[in-house]
């Protein structure tokens, strides 16, 4: 089943109809999405800036990641669920939007970057001047800034 097929099926579910009928549901879910996504990006940026050696320099990188990651994951869970609900309110238009599809692809790339970091670059944290953690942090920061921009552009091109 393609994304378009899924979108057509979703648009006729009772949830989709309830979301479009309600006056407050969409802005309420949007508010939750903004809170969650800004927290995802802000918390990831703290780690990325540490990896780049630009902030929190007195903190051990591994300890900092362990302290921040639970916040990032919790916020990401809320952002994903609220995002799915926003998609449900207008699935056909979103699934045909260039910036929406681009945002989903960039999210996948950001996820892959994070996976690569925890698999490989994480081990090099103790190595002074190691390049891999810096590349990982720089790529992550660039990707998330682009994801926010794509997200905002969806609203103007729907």
């Amino acid at each position: 089943m393609s994304l378009q097929d899924f979108a057509f099926w979703l648009s006729e579910t009772r949830l989709a109809i309830a979301l479009t009928d309600s006056e407050w549901a969409f802005p309420a879910i949007e508010s939750l999405h903004v809170i969650a996504l800004t927290l995802v990006i802000g918390s990831i940026a703290i780690v990325d800036l540490r990896l780049l050696g630009l902030a929190s320099k007195q903190r051990d990188t591994g300890d900092l990641i362990a302290a921040i990651l639970p916040i990032t994951w919790l916020a990401f869970g809320v952002a994903a669920i609220s995002g799915l609900l926003l998609f449900t309110a207008n699935p056909v238009s979103y699934s045909e939007n260039f910036y929406f599809l681009g945002k989903l692809s960039l999210l996948a790339v950001a996820g892959a970057n994070m996976l690569l970091f925890h698999r490989f670059a994480h081990r090099q944290l103790a190595v002074p001047g190691a390049l891999a953690p810096k590349l990982s942090g720089g790529a992550s920061l660039t990707l998330w800034v682009t994801i926010v921009a794509f997200g905002r552009w969806i609203g103007f091109t729907l």
Binding site: E23, P27, G42, V145, V148, R152, W153
Partner: protein, 173 residues
């Protein structure tokens, strides 16, 4: 009275070159909103870490004074960029936000959230090794931290609601 002053202001602002520039290019408003959102990310992440540290939920090994040293300045810069991008967004469409009660509620909430967040400095002085910076948070301080965090969340909700509420009576169409 207030409506008349605001109408005079938005009439003046709408005739400036600033409005012509912001409204004249398709990409400027979404670009400003992107910077606005990224600044919210900086402010909210900083506010969450400071206030949850005071409550005792994160970074328990770090003195509160050190957390304030690390995150108050990024929050201040974030708020400044938010104000700047906010002013530019208003210039792009002068009558959109200013005639809505929820916009002024948002401004009041920002004032309260900023005041409470900076009030932590009263209890936790600068300097990561100073005794006062590492002191335990009192129940009052923890309550203020929870309130500050809720206020920051309310700022975001109020901001989103600007796009959905009606303007007050007498506002320009």
């Amino acid at each position: 009275m207030i409506t008349d002053i605001l109408i005079a202001f938005t009439d003046w602002l709408g005739a400036t070159r600033l409005t012509a520039i912001v409204a004249g290019h398709f990409w400027i408003v979404p670009a400003l909103q992107t910077v606005h959102l990224l600044s919210i990310a900086v402010v909210l992440a900083g506010a969450v870490l400071i206030n949850l540290r005071i409550v005792g939920l994160v970074e328990r090994g770090q003195p509160v004074g050190a957390m304030l040293d690390r995150f108050l300045r990024p929050i201040a810069i974030g708020v400044a960029v938010l104000a700047l991008t906010g002013v530019l967004l208003i210039a792009g469409e002068p009558t959109r936000a200013l005639f809505r009660v929820v916009f002024w509620l948002k401004m009041a909430l920002i004032l309260a959230a900023v005041s409470l967040t900076w009030s932590h400095r009263i209890s936790f002085r600068a300097g990561r090794s100073s005794a006062a910076g590492a002191a335990a948070a009192t129940p009052l301080r923890k309550s203020i931290a929870i309130l500050a965090l809720l206020l920051w969340l309310a700022v975001i909700v109020a901001g989103r609601w600007i796009a959905y509420v009606e303007a007050w009576p007498g506002a320009p169409a």
